[in-house]
């Protein structure tokens, strides 16, 4: 698997010459990412007739650009209207929307774009260097380790609930219970489905996301028009100064971008672990290591950077097991595999000998796709932020209509539209009574995978709960987990004592 500079240069040259496939891929990916309900894997499935008929390298370049751009643009609605375009951007809402409320929409968008592009760029370059090692990482982290990694994400429930711990935890536990809807992991027996076929596969993420965030936010937004509630400071015109300010902030927190991107990469390498785990864990870790954790949740730049950089780090990671062991890291990667196999390319260890132009090429293409995104982001931040100047009486019906349609598009069930409305009402009540909607969402997102890995571990331990502490890596992670829970408490105590003194 030796790689010399000449090969790399050649691969870069070839990837740049595929601009005609990369640019439409980016454009489509950006559009699809903004709309909740339209996932990259569904889009790629629909476009299979096109990609199967394309030359294999061009098809790959197209699919990869679409996939990466999709992860970039999910943060746009999260920041501007508190509606994550995909589950991976849910953590971006926490600080991104607060920045918009403070009138810093453009800065937040710049932070999110730069973090996404830089995070994706750094990790895709890094993957080229350490691909063989990374492929092994996917095999080192097993169910037990995954249980602990997901717990890192779940501790975010407690972190978000800092204001009223009891309510926050109730919200999180409610979400986890809701996440337990659907068939069990071992016997595939349906539980708590109210008899709805549509719930057998678990509570669908997209309608829940749309309900809790988009619809409830619409109901809240009405206050701006009628209730005389505080109007967000958004009436100013977009200014290049704000864009530059965003760049300045990103440079200031460059180290955040780097390490959260690598965190995303590591989580992305694990088959089955998605972008949303990475973004929540990154947010939680970023807050943990911050000197000013109390600023998170109030519109703090690193709170936008961490999840965005991590969820683009994931894009580089998911393709690693796909290429190196022939096992897709996620559903988008599975669709890419169909195209590769259709063209007669066998994925797996031999790929590096048989067709290095594909094996390494995909990561070069990814790098190039991110490079192509750079010139797009400056104007995009400037003009996208104009959305917040659309009057409430227009934007509220538009968001309601388009997101409810998005709720349908994901699985094509009418049921999902009604579900989104139901969760809209729950979300609105939760917002108004200070139960954090993000806590509920974290429960719904992480609950099912937590149960999956936990039960797998317990089955492996043949009923012995000590199996959870049976591996050195998992034990190290447990220690880190305990530290990350205890440290903030200890730090707060110390600050309080100092303040008292």
């Amino acid at each position: 698997m030796e790689l010399d500079l000449a090969t790399i240069a050649d691969l870069f040259g070839r990837s740049f010459s595929l601009w005609w496939a990369i640019i439409p891929g980016i454009a489509l990916g950006l559009a699809v990412g903004v709309l909740p309900g339209f996932s990259p894997q569904n889009t790629l499935i629909i476009l299979l007739p096109v990609t199967l008929a394309m030359d294999v390298e061009a098809a790959l370049a197209f699919m990869i650009s679409l996939y990466c751009a999709n992860h970039l643009s999910g943060g746009i609605p999260a920041i501007l209207v508190n509606i994550p375009g995909s589950a991976g951007a849910a953590a971006t809402c926490i600080d991104g929307y607060q920045m918009t409320k403070k009138g810093q929409a453009q800065q937040a968008l710049m932070l999110s774009f730069i973090a996404s592009v830089a995070g994706g760029l750094i990790t895709s370059v890094a993957v080229l260097g350490v691909l063989p090692f990374l492929a092994e990482l996917g095999l080192i982290l097993r169910s037990v380790e995954m249980v602990v990694i997901i717990l890192f994400g779940l501790t975010l429930i407690a972190v978000l609930a800092a204001k009223d711990m009891l309510k926050g935890l109730i919200g999180g536990a409610f979400g986890l219970m809701l996440g337990a809807i659907g068939t069990d992991q071992v016997y595939s027996t349906p539980r708590a489905t109210f008899g709805f076929l549509e719930l057998y596969d678990g509570l669908p993420l997209v309608p829940v996301l749309i309900g809790l965030f988009a619809i409830s936010e619409c109901l809240v937004m009405l206050e701006e028009k009628f209730g005389g509630g505080s109007k967000p400071a958004t009436q100013q015109r977009p200014q290049w100064a704000d864009t530059l300010d965003g760049i300045r902030l990103s440079l200031r927190y460059w180290w955040q971008i780097v390490w959260t991107a690598f965190l995303g990469l590591a989580i992305g390498v694990i088959p089955g672990a998605g972008a949303y785990i990475a973004s929540f864990v990154a947010y939680q870790q970023s807050r943990l290591f911050s000197k000013t954790p109390e600023k998170y949740g109030t519109g703090f730049a690193p709170g936008v950077i961490a999840p965005e950089s991590a969820n683009n780090g994931v894009t580089s990671g998911t393709l690693v097991p796909t290429m190196a062991i022939g096992i897709p890291g996620g559903s988008t990667a599975a669709v890419m595999m169909i195209v590769l196999q259709y063209q007669g390319i066998t994925l797996g260890p031999r790929l590096f000998q048989d067709s290095p132009n594909i094996a390494y090429g995909v990561f070069v293409m990814m790098t190039v796709a991110y490079i192509f995104m750079i010139p797009l982001i400056l104007p995009m931040a400037r003009y996208a932020s104009k959305v917040v100047t659309v009057p409430v009486h227009v934007i509220v019906p538009l968001i309601l209509g388009l997101t409810v349609i998005g709720a349908f598009a994901d699985r094509e069930y009418m049921f999902d539209m009604a579900l989104a409305l139901g969760f809209g009402v729950i979300g609105y009540i939760a917002v108004k009574t200070n139960y954090h909607v993000t806590s509920i969402l974290i429960g719904v997102l992480l609950g099912p995978i937590f149960e999956r890995y936990l039960l797998r571990s317990l089955r492996i331990g043949q009923g012995d709960i000590m199996v959870l502490f049976s591996s050195p890596i998992a034990n190290a992670l447990w220690v880190l987990l305990v530290i990350s829970v205890v440290l903030p408490i200890w730090r707060e105590r110390r600050l309080a004592r100092r303040a008292a003194a």
Partner: protein
């Protein structure tokens, strides 16, 4: 809600989410009672934690009510006029779902947008009509025709398919 004089603030609304959560947990327990431990372990542990947390909350609420720091009255903090618009908007969305299979995606979306904007006080006719005509057309062209998502079809979609051969037939 403005607090008047020494009236304690209402706190009843804080019990809505816990009530939903407890109700759901009870239902969950009922559906898994006959299943093997693997199928219910996770849910039962989380459910037990949830019940404990809610019990603590009830204790806190009870204590505050007993000490006259709060009352069990109920409010979501919205003024009556906004709440009326909210209810109408949600009713509109329910109507949207009911009408959708009959009139198809494009027409229903257009109507919903128009009525929605009107409900929220939009009276600038050109923009009302513009938004509620252009948006459904965009949705139809991109999602239904190009991406082929199977949204409910109605007279408009069928007419386009029959007259110009654009879009899905069935």
């Amino acid at each position: 809600m403005q607090r008047q004089g020494s009236d304690p603030p209402p706190i009843g609304q804080e019990l809505i989410i816990p009530a939903l959560a407890v109700g759901f947990t009870a239902y969950y327990f009922w559906t898994v009672q006959e299943l093997a431990w693997e199928a219910k372990a996770n849910g039962i542990v989380i459910g037990a934690i949830l019940l404990l947390l809610v019990a603590l909350l009830l204790f806190r609420v009870g204590w505050r009510v007993a000490n006259r720091q709060a009352t069990l009255r109920f409010t979501l903090g919205g003024d009556p006029e906004t709440d009326r618009v909210r209810l109408m908007l949600m009713a509109l969305m329910v109507a949207f779902l009911v009408v959708l299979p009959l009139l198809g995606t494009s027409i229903t979306l257009g109507l919903m947008l128009f009525i929605g904007m009107w409900l929220l006080g939009g009276r600038h006719w050109p923009s009302l009509i513009g938004v509620s005509v252009i948006t459904p057309l965009l949705v139809w062209a991109t999602l239904i025709v190009i991406l082929g998502t199977r949204f409910p079809l109605g007279p408009f979609e069928h007419a386009m398919a029959a007259l110009f051969g654009i879009g899905p037939v069935d």
